[in-house]
Symmetry: D2
Amino acid sequence: MIRIGLLGCGRIGQVHARTIKGLESAHVVAVADAMPEAALSLANQIGAEVRDTDAILSGSDIDAVVIGTPTNTHFEQIHAATEASKAIFCEKPVDMSVENIRKLMEGVRRANVPFFTAFNRRFDPNFADLQAQIQAGTIGAVELVQITSRDPSPPPIGYIKSSGGLFRDMMIHDFDMARFLVGEEFVRLSAVGSCLVDPDIGAAGDIDTASVTLTTAAGKICTITNSRRAAYGYDQRIEVHGADGMLRAENILETSVERATAQGFQKAPTMHFFLERYEAAYRAEMVAFIDALQNKGRISPDIEDGLRAQMLADAAAHSLETGRAVEIAP
Amino acid sequence: MIRIGLLGCGRIGQVHARTIKGLESAHVVAVADAMPEAALSLANQIGAEVRDTDAILSGSDIDAVVIGTPTNTHFEQIHAATEASKAIFCEKPVDMSVENIRKLMEGVRRANVPFFTAFNRRFDPNFADLQAQIQAGTIGAVELVQITSRDPSPPPIGYIKSSGGLFRDMMIHDFDMARFLVGEEFVRLSAVGSCLVDPDIGAAGDIDTASVTLTTAAGKICTITNSRRAAYGYDQRIEVHGADGMLRAENILETSVERATAQGFQKAPTMHFFLERYEAAYRAEMVAFIDALQNKGRISPDIEDGLRAQMLADAAAHSLETGRAVEIAP
Amino acid sequence: MIRIGLLGCGRIGQVHARTIKGLESAHVVAVADAMPEAALSLANQIGAEVRDTDAILSGSDIDAVVIGTPTNTHFEQIHAATEASKAIFCEKPVDMSVENIRKLMEGVRRANVPFFTAFNRRFDPNFADLQAQIQAGTIGAVELVQITSRDPSPPPIGYIKSSGGLFRDMMIHDFDMARFLVGEEFVRLSAVGSCLVDPDIGAAGDIDTASVTLTTAAGKICTITNSRRAAYGYDQRIEVHGADGMLRAENILETSVERATAQGFQKAPTMHFFLERYEAAYRAEMVAFIDALQNKGRISPDIEDGLRAQMLADAAAHSLETGRAVEIAP
Amino acid sequence: MIRIGLLGCGRIGQVHARTIKGLESAHVVAVADAMPEAALSLANQIGAEVRDTDAILSGSDIDAVVIGTPTNTHFEQIHAATEASKAIFCEKPVDMSVENIRKLMEGVRRANVPFFTAFNRRFDPNFADLQAQIQAGTIGAVELVQITSRDPSPPPIGYIKSSGGLFRDMMIHDFDMARFLVGEEFVRLSAVGSCLVDPDIGAAGDIDTASVTLTTAAGKICTITNSRRAAYGYDQRIEVHGADGMLRAENILETSVERATAQGFQKAPTMHFFLERYEAAYRAEMVAFIDALQNKGRISPDIEDGLRAQMLADAAAHSLETGRAVEIAP
């Protein structure tokens, strides 16, 4: 039975808490949150204690910590958890600074603690199946990957300002997905970006529409497009072209009902809310983490995956600024 | 070079004339129509003579006649063509009376003239492929067939009155398709029908909405549904369920464009006009007829197919009248 | 807080127990099962007591009973629950005998106890949306309904023998769906059926492939087809044709991944297992039941819905036997 | 009646000749080809004369020339046709050299002769509908365009060597489509390309897999991906994302038949051959050209469109060589 301490009782912390509650092999011992009522409310729901963060990080009855706190607190929490030899499940991004992630990675490796970077989309049943089919060779060698990721509408401008920018906040998921699918590191990247959705986003120094093209040493190509707006819902699609065929994962619609009228054939919009769209993925990633702990299996995605995605996001930001293609450090 | 006489220069006659004009192995020598201007206009377009019907039926320079005249003239024309040993291509229905068709069939067999009943839908590339896949065993033994056939809107009430009723005018295509797909004769049939679209149709003694269920001696089941109205266009679908799977042919939409908005994902209506929807089928059936004549191949569908479909239409009408299942004569 | 006693701790009982555990407005006080270990195991999982059936039916701390026991025990349990003024949630079929259901209905009405017949498919989000769209008038007046329902593979022959036959065991869901969608009672029905899947089913006196056509007094038509086998998974589709258009609910596939190769474009099979396919429906029906109890809302589907579906199943069996159309008693 | 001289009797010349034969408002007076038998054969088929190229270009009975000869002969033919004041329909590319096209454009403008650059895909009914929907504002302002264009298999290596390279031979269609859809000029472009399909293509100095990203002054983004190989057929798709929604045109499959088996749901490959896939487009572009001549309407796409596409192809080649983004001259 894995004993878990949960840091951060917000939306995503609650999702993880509910998943763990349904598992036989783990339970949440204690929760912490900067807002005491949030911690208390979640603790009551799942039958856990409220403790402060430090008490959880050092608790002798805690095997693993799940970190769902704001990004700027990750560094210290991961550092402390590493020192205390806890297994770590950390929401993305691990940290806004590649330098910091490198430091944490050294510590994690030295202490040999299991570290899971929560790139949940790898665990979406559809994307996971797509990747498994690539691995199984159903379309031969991968040649071209196209990832489309569009939010239904932009987040509040306050969120944008502290987000690290579209590449680090939103496209980072797609950078990880690209690495996951291609199975090789990218060596070069070129980014373009515009502010087309909301001028306030531009005024805040960010973009809301972007396209990034990445290449591997072997010449495999990946294009990612992002938009902060999609009238028809949350648009999450992947297409992979290989020597022997193509795989694509389409959007998930709200219902399977189609209506045919004089205007034509109409289906429902896509699922709108990311927690609903990726509900199965959030569950599956936690199950995978607990399972790896129990069976001493390989943890994946790990902290290096977190680092690599952040490096690509940094490179994209740099490419956008300079208007030039950027080489990725190996 | 097959020399053809064309009887009837209306919409469907023109379609056949244009097809033949594009073929290297046949040409239209002469055309006839009750309306002289119609005959003259088509003759000019395709470089043919205008003759009267009898002259065509007895012409020594005519190898085959294509009959696209009103149904009530078919009997005499087929009779004369048979006597003159012409090959015959006849639009459905061969005749409204099963008795008459039997008589014609005897003549055709005695004279050994090639006779093609123009059930064009067998030659639609999609339905033809579906049937070929059944034959190839891709879904194992056929168990259940569902045929959906709906017109965009009802024909003029005048047409309805002389049409022989929905079963003989509209569902006859589906009866032939059912036989074509199942490859066994049906032994029993049960029909229901309603007037839901237009009360004038009911007043004219006909129905506009119907469902017929047929069974073979081996217990294979086919359901056909018809409606004289479909807001979204011409609805023509087939689904066949077999021991190892299912085949279905979907509608053909006007374009491949999909629009996604806050209301969802919208595609175009189906192709609306039967001559456009079945354009490839009309061409292919004529090519098949000419080809069979040239190569002395088997003519299919033949006059017996025309007879069988008419028998099923009669049985459906009888079942609707009596409210009882009807056995089909072997 | 609604206090619930659960009768039957099998597969479906467990599903309901887990749903109730997740609700704030209800909890399972006690469970019973003919197999003590089954009861004990479920009781432990959800924190309930084990009692015997009678104790639950008469328990003063029980507001409602959920009946998931074998059909042949329903009559006595419903009778006892009615006498004890418990609200009742009963799996379909209520009873194999229409006569018995009528008796139970009289008791339920006299005692004025809430009675929910668990036709879960009404609560499938897709079918519920389809029905809501009909109600909202998006396709005008309903004219033709086509319900397709095919199991992945036949149940064990032992199950078949005690099932009451395909119409009462399998198509009963579709009879209820037809009533739900059309919103009018059917007055006439005609059935055909064959044994094409497994000769043992025929030897047991049952069929495995069937088609039933129903009509309302207003002439609306519904066709239902069933098969005990579908190579591609659990096939559950509905199509409704109305004056102004068509609604259809397609199958739910295992994943959204499509693979394109030289053979074409391939998608996953349909979800295979009914508990998984209708997971959301099982949850939603229980939520609706509890909600109606709490808010003294209308219970639907109720015991009369259970009766009506059973009457249609009986009529279909009678039609199949006699080879004739059957009038449905009002 | 527009009198046409046809230069080049190869595959595409034959397509245009057949289209014109079917029109009432134009006819082919004479044809020319470097191979006399090719010219003779086509002339016989359509009832035209064989002449030599110069005789056609200067013929007083010729109103318009259709140029379907090898690209390296275009310059002189266009020059001569311009001098002789003939209307010109020219296959893409107008010329391999932007400088040459500029010279021709000056001549064409000075002489005021109608000049049609045959970017046939603008006339595909699906793409034309998509563009018309953009124009009609159905998805608001365009933000992101994704064009996917993949050939079933690479052309012979001899063709590759004289093709001008993937950008000028294959992606030039997509560059024109991008301009057509976005309705603004692109100001900046960045290209990547690899040789993944056939090493011989790389040895010939070309690439077979590529991605190009273009941006307009307003920040609109277009990504184009090309591959010389697609196992599943000729892959031709467009997706346009706008402020209020998305439009996409999907591939055209060989049939509408879907087969469901234990492996899932399988549809046919895409149409494989470009002349078949774009049959309607080839016809429609010629109709548009003739129509514009007859009605003195605007010719579109014109020679400047040919120039612009070539400039983008050159820029892409330059970007690939230098590994840098390239500004497009206004």
